[in-house]
Symmetry: C2
Subunit: 172 residues, 2 copies
């Protein structure tokens, strides 16, 4: 038994693989994640990792589901006026995670029930709190667009993102 071959309980290895994937995602986006590298980082064989995730897409779907749960937790305590700022703060703190959650994978969520459930729970929270359905969608789109444009550094001026978001979301 080599030093790196640590024993895992079933759920622990799954969590360790997701932790490794998070590290790779934060460093280089989803293109930097591989199941083989996650196995290496967790100190197990690729075969052991494939027992938990059929392929890279399954690993990323489980990871996105985990982050939708964290996203929901991050927004839950915020008052309505602060929720937009919490949303943008979540995106800017971990761009790789936000881009994974809201990216091509999300459009394929119906193939990944765990991701679909986690995303829908988060979206239901976002849309349940405001008055009309259209009002809620409009507020969501505004804060989501701001998060993306700030991530992309598309907004000129170099203003502090938190100050900008507070002003734009606070009403004019």
């Amino acid at each position: 038994v080599s030093a790196s071959a640590r024993p895992y309980h079933h759920g622990d290895l799954r969590a360790a693989l997701l932790d490794a994937a998070d590290t790779l995602l934060d460093q280089g986006g989803d293109g930097a994640v591989s199941l083989r590298e996650c196995a290496r980082m967790a100190g197990v064989s690729p075969t052991a990792a494939y027992r938990h995730f059929a392929d890279k897409e399954a690993l990323l779907a489980a990871l996105a589901a985990r982050h939708f749960e964290a996203f929901r937790d991050a927004l839950a305590p915020a008052a309505a006026s602060a929720r937009g700022r919490a949303y943008v703060r979540f995106a800017l703190a971990r761009p790789g995670r936000f881009r994974l959650m809201f990216g091509p994978l999300l459009a394929r969520a119906p193939a990944h029930p765990v991701l679909l459930a986690a995303a829908n729970a988060a979206f239901a929270d976002l849309n349940a709190r405001t008055g009309s359905r259209d009002g809620a969608l409009r507020a969501w789109a505004l804060v989501h667009g701001l998060a993306h444009l700030l991530l992309d550094r598309a907004i000129p001026g170099g203003e502090d993102p938190e100050a900008l978001v507070a002003r734009l979301l606070g009403g004019s």
Copy 2:
């Protein structure tokens, strides 16, 4: 001289490589683009392709610049009330292109002058047409967020995107 070794004028090969990259982008996103495969599709050696683009990032930056120009042209004729719909229509028609334009590459645009200039020209158009700076930013974020959420299929209900956009952007 093999059948695939067609002669190109300098600018024509550059355009042919970008056309090939577009095909790959539309099929599988930016992860599917490689300079080597673009060279193969254009019928030239990888070495010939590298004379135009130092690496994949340079190729993608030139491609994103091309699409920012097309984006600007698509929005220019639209009246203010129709611009939001034209914006979302552009995104939904070619998701791979929109995700490339508004993605991690954009945050690195300062390293790619051609992309930076094309993006800034498009953004200046978007922000010049409305009254206040904050009002313009708010309108931009709203339509940009809608485009992303529709691309990601994050909005439940299965409503026709054009109808949804027209209603949300028309003000309520």
